[in-house]
């Protein structure tokens, strides 16, 4: 309770807010010919060259220390950048996970050599990471992973399989949660995180086509992949704690509010026209805005906690569960609005964007933890478990 009580309005400092204008000017130009249904992909859109350009501009790893190629800025600076990337539909999927999770994880738990090797490359947009958590037998029940890294003379010998790994087919490295000691019955004990170079012999990556026709997640197979001794991240056996800390980064960001924003803005453009404007649409526009704004304030308040070095795991789960609900409402309610009228003059691009968002919306409340997992975490935070 007490941790939730402390979510109060918080302001983004002026020096971080100052980034917005420059980023927006760049993005408005870069995205000017990209249609809404493509912008709607945002952090599921992959464009390595775009990521490298962001790196050249100093916008990747902005929170990392300058010694590792970053800018040493606060979580608020990253918040402003990311909010602009998402709202303008920039194709930021290539570097997304490295910038959001893998880099901060390595900063916190990595060796000096690991930091030197990976962080500057992340900041240049030259090292893309994915996260190997789920397995065929371990989805929400993450502690039952079976992929195993066995210590040998050369380091670690990795065997097993990951699934639903976002963007593995476009990444250079995976940080995988694997068993390094004990048995499946030991649950959280004996799990560790290892860095896997996905170009190594024995690694096979197979993209999975989703219902929208895109391939953003993959199966990844490890057949006796030899990893070096420096593949281990953090403590042997400390993987569970590390993964939990990492998920607070994954769940707290503005990507849990803006997944349908390209659709909302495209629909607003239509309902602002004389033929598109109706009293019903006006009310719906207000409803969506009225739900998004408090969530954004909560998300900024969580960012403030991150800047103070806290790990607001429960608050992040709460905002993600609510936020994905609003993201899904946007698609459902806009569809109802458009098809409750004579839709003859609805622009085709709006319909294409609606179609894309309708198809991907189920993933909002799966990726980064299903609704039921998040509600269980909140319940634990409330002292019910």
């Amino acid at each position: 309770m007490s941790q939730l009580d402390s979510l109060n309005p918080s302001a983004i400092p002026a020096q971080d807010e100052a980034l917005r204008q420059e980023v927006r000017a760049f993005l408005l130009d870069a995205m000017r010919h990209v249609p809404a249904h493509v912008r709607a992909r945002s952090w599921s859109g992959y464009d390595p060259e775009f990521s490298r350009e962001l790196g050249r501009r100093g916008w990747l790893g902005i929170t990392f220390p300058q010694a590792y190629g970053g800018a040493g800025r606060s979580a608020f600076a990253r918040y402003v950048l990311v909010e602009e990337f998402l709202n303008l539909g920039a194709p930021v999927g290539s570097h997304w996970i490295a910038d959001r999770q893998s880099g901060p994880l390595l900063l916190k738990y990595g060796t000096e050599a690991q930091k030197q090797r990976y962080l500057p490359a992340i900041c240049r947009g030259e090292a893309f990471f994915c996260i190997g958590m789920s397995e065929p037998g371990a989805g929400s029940d993450l502690a039952s992973v079976r992929t195993r890294a066995v210590p040998n003379d050369a380091g670690w010998l990795l065997s097993g399989q990951k699934i639903w790994t976002t963007n593995a087919h476009n990444c250079h490295f995976m940080i995988a949660l694997v068993r390094t000691s004990g048995e499946a019955l030991d649950r959280h004990k004996g799990l560790s995180q290892v860095i896997v170079d996905l170009s190594l012999p024995g690694v096979t990556v197979r993209p999975i086509v989703d219902q929208s026709g895109d391939s953003h997640f993959c199966e990844v197979f490890f057949d006796k992949v030899q990893l070096g001794p420096d593949a281990l991240v953090g403590e042997e056996g400390g993987g569970w704690e590390q993964v939990t800390a990492e998920l607070a980064f994954e769940r707290s960001g503005p990507e849990r509010l803006y997944s349908s924003i390209a659709l909302f803005d495209e629909w607003l453009a239509y309902v602002r026209t004389p033929q598109g404007r109706t009293p019903q649409a006006q009310r719906l526009a207000g409803k969506i805005l009225g739900q998004l704004a408090p969530l954004r304030a909560m998300s900024v308040a969580i960012t403030e906690k991150l800047t103070r070095g806290e790990s607001p795991v429960v608050e992040a789960a709460l905002v993600k569960d609510l936020g994905t609900g609003v993201e899904q409402l946007i698609a459902a309610a806009i569809a109802d609005d458009l098809f409750s009228r004579d839709a003859a003059d609805v622009p085709a691009e709006l319909l294409n964007t609606l179609n894309y968002i309708t198809q991907v919306a189920p993933s909002y409340s799966l990726r980064g933890g299903t609704r039921d997992i998040l509600r269980g975490m909140i319940a634990r935070g409330l002292g019910l478990r």
Partner: protein, 333 residues
């Protein structure tokens, strides 16, 4: 400063605004004892400048007090009087002693002033009435009064002569927005009270050999309640995030809409988890859940304020909704 102030209010309400007192006033017994305690404490002068004997706080600083009015189901118009005295002081009108509530009036063809909804009107000494762009202060004692809706609320009417001779409040005043900001804050307090009472009940109530809070279905309902309560609280704080005494109308629109939406969800889930006991007069839950509905209906429901927000959004040429999201949330105090 504001936290010390809120702590003092909380202490007084804990001692003097018990469920027994709330029930008695709802049942028509006099408010005298509770009101005099609150009046003597000076809480209602929080927004009055220090030079005029008040505490000189801003709207943002009195938010915790208004939230407490909801959390304690305060059955007298403390929040209304606090806001009204701030408004009167700023307009250069000396506030009369006693409680003040807000109303929107209409001068009808029968030569009378009609106020269709006067929240907490049964507990008012004065009514600040907005009618045809004018704002005047009328004595409640001279009104025709009829209880309407929630047990403390009324319809009121005066002869036109009473309106004509009433104390005028100079300037233009958006009383509905001010009220909506207040009820959003009170809703936030009542939402938290309902949530924490329900959480406690789920930990205490044993069925099938264990506390019902151990069942996953109940846990998830409580999680959803907490989400709504915390989002509503954030919205209500933003609604009151003004440096001065006049809240921002669009922030209030968001605040009242979001808290009203939450009221419906949280009231429903709390009764579902409590079962039959929560529906009894004897059990305290109803003191709060009836207010969730009453305050949702006060000063505009969620759709009223969605229309206001939507109109601003659609009238604006700004192509990015982010700019509106930022306008509603950035630059808080």
């Amino acid at each position: 400063m504001d936290h010390l102030f809120a702590d003092a209010v909380k202490d007084v309400l804990t001692d003097h605004c018990t469920p027994t007192v709330v029930r008695a006033i709802e049942a028509g017994q006099p408010r005298t004892a509770l009101w005099h305690t609150l009046e003597a404490s000076g809480f209602a002068d929080a927004l009055v400048p220090e030079s005029a004997g008040g505490a000189g706080l801003s709207l943002a600083e009195v938010y915790p007090v208004l939230e407490l009015c909801g959390a304690f189901a305060v059955p007298v118009p403390l929040g209304e009087t606090l806001l009204a005295r701030g408004l009167l002081a700023q307009a250069g009108v000396i506030a009369p002693a006693g409680s003040v509530v807000f109303a929107t009036g209409r001068l009808a063809s029968d030569d009378r002033l009609h106020c269709a909804q006067v929240r907490c009107g049964t507990q008012a000494d004065w009514v600040l009435v907005s009618c045809d762009d004018a704002c005047r202060l009328l004595p409640a004692t001279t009104a025709d009064v009829q209880v309407a809706g929630f047990c403390l609320d009324t319809q009121m009417g005066w002869p036109r002569a009473a309106w004509d001779s009433a104390q005028a409040v100079p300037g233009t005043h958006d009383l509905v927005t001010l009220q909506a900001a207040l009820y959003a804050a009170q809703l936030a307090g009542a939402l938290m009270a309902v949530f924490s009472r329900t959480l406690q009940y789920a930990n205490d109530r044993q069925q099938f050999g264990k506390p019902i809070g151990k069942f996953q279905a109940i846990q998830h309902q409580l999680s959803v309640m907490s989400e709504h309560a915390f989002a509503a609280r954030m919205a209500a704080q933003l609604g009151m995030s003004a440096q001065g005494l006049v809240p921002d109308r669009l922030r209030v629109a968001m605040a009242k809409a979001r808290t009203s939406e939450a009221a419906l969800e949280v009231a429903g889930l709390s009764h579902s988890i409590h079962g039959a006991i929560g529906f009894t007069r004897e059990f305290d839950l109803q003191l709060f859940t009836r207010r969730l509905h009453a305050w949702r209906q006060a000063a505009g429901s969620e759709s009223y304020w969605h229309d206001v927000l939507g109109q601003a959004l659609l009238d604006s040429p700004e192509p990015m909704s982010l700019e509106w999201v930022r306008t509603l949330t950035d630059g808080v105090v």
